[in-house]
Symmetry: C2
Subunit: 194 residues, 2 copies
DNA sequence: CCTTCTTTCCTAGGGCTTCTAGGAAAGAAG
DNA sequence: CTTCTTTCCTAGAAGCCCTAGGAAAGAAGG
């Protein structure tokens, strides 16, 4: 019997490739076993179940993604940092759609407990926002707006939700421009203005 | 043999309820058959397959949602219209998370061909943006930014992506305020400003 | 009323999936 | 060379999607 020499990390890496190629939903235990030249049951030595497999893809993706974003924003501030953050975010998501989708699962607290990706993601966001000189709760509100916009854009773009007429990259750049101005002129509390 | 008296519409309605209660992924042919007191195979007289069932939920959702949004924005303009649109959007999505998720599927052209929901959704968006006096391609860019933000916000909120500290409704209201200002002061082309 | 047609629902079954139990053998550790 | 751990296996239960072919309920027509 020639062994395949699998480990949890190798299994996860193969699953992540599959996810990017064919979509997260098509990552199944049996399809992955076929790809690895192994029987279904053998994978259960490395991974608890299907859910666990997908969670591992998500944790891997969040770490890779925050690595890239961290490198992109290093030494930048203000609009430079915003654009670098956003482009690294979008670039990773478009290049690794399956991994990205896995980062958006609804995780249980114990599933993300030992992972650094998600914590670092929050730190990076707040670090980038520092230049805009906001105080809580505006900081939280602005962070939520940014995350929502980034995620929503990518989700719609990956889902084919945008028509083909106008280049999405250009729309994206213009939206970042608009967001930068929004952050610079963040509305004061209790604005009565219309 | 006592008949259940099913039709495609009744099957879809039951499926939509299931989706809202337990998530779109848990809408399966066999689970739906159990709920309706019928054998799996019987549902295939009303629905082509699982995909078709979920598409029907999405089309139903898009029509219900645009009905609500249309009623909300009627007679309003400017920021009033924006807030009415956004609140109706968020209200429907939070109240019907399964239906909403189904509206975000990747549809094939022939699947949405006979449906009015998606077309009306575009019309409503452009109608609401009319007050901001934008010309193409700014109109498209602004529309994409709005859709992304709305969808991203709801997706993160439904996915438990926001912490519990700050009230999401308040963040939402502040973000709408910020978006309104963004639309009012939409950046001119080729801004060199930082 | 009685025949015919259409639609709804059924049984039976194939094929794919997840996952468990229990065992064999490869490779590491003593 | 023996012992232990880990990897991988076979076997099988249970659930899912979907098709084929048939029965019966209800509608439509004579």
């Amino acid at each position: 019997m020639v062994r395949a020499g699998l480990t949890a990390a190798k299994v996860t890496a193969a699953a992540a490739e599959m996810a990017d190629e064919a979509g997260l939903d098509s990552v199944t235990v049996s399809a992955l076993a076929r790809r690895l030249g192994v029987k279904d049951a053998s994978l259960y030595s490395h991974v608890k179940n299907l859910r666990d497999l997908r969670v591992r893809i998500g944790l891997l993706g969040s770490e890779e993604m925050t690595d890239r974003i961290g490198a992109a924003v290093a030494g930048r501030a203000g609009k430079d940092a915003l654009v670098a953050f956003a482009d690294a975010y979008r670039g990773y998501a478009l290049g690794h759609p399956g991994r990205y989708a896995a980062t958006q699962m609804r995780f249980e607290p114990e599933e993300v407990a030992g992972s650094v990706g998600f914590r670092r993601s929050i730190e990076l966001t707040y670090g980038m926002l520092r230049a805009y000189d906001l105080a809580e709760p505006d900081l939280t509100d602005a962070g939520r707006l940014l995350r929502s916009t980034f995620h929503g854009y990518i989700h719609l773009e990956l889902g084919g939700g945008f028509g083909h007429s106008r280049d999405v990259g250009e729309s994206w750049a213009r939206s970042l421009d608009a967001l930068h101005r929004t952050l610079e002129n963040w509305p004061a509390r209790e604005t009565g203005s219309k």
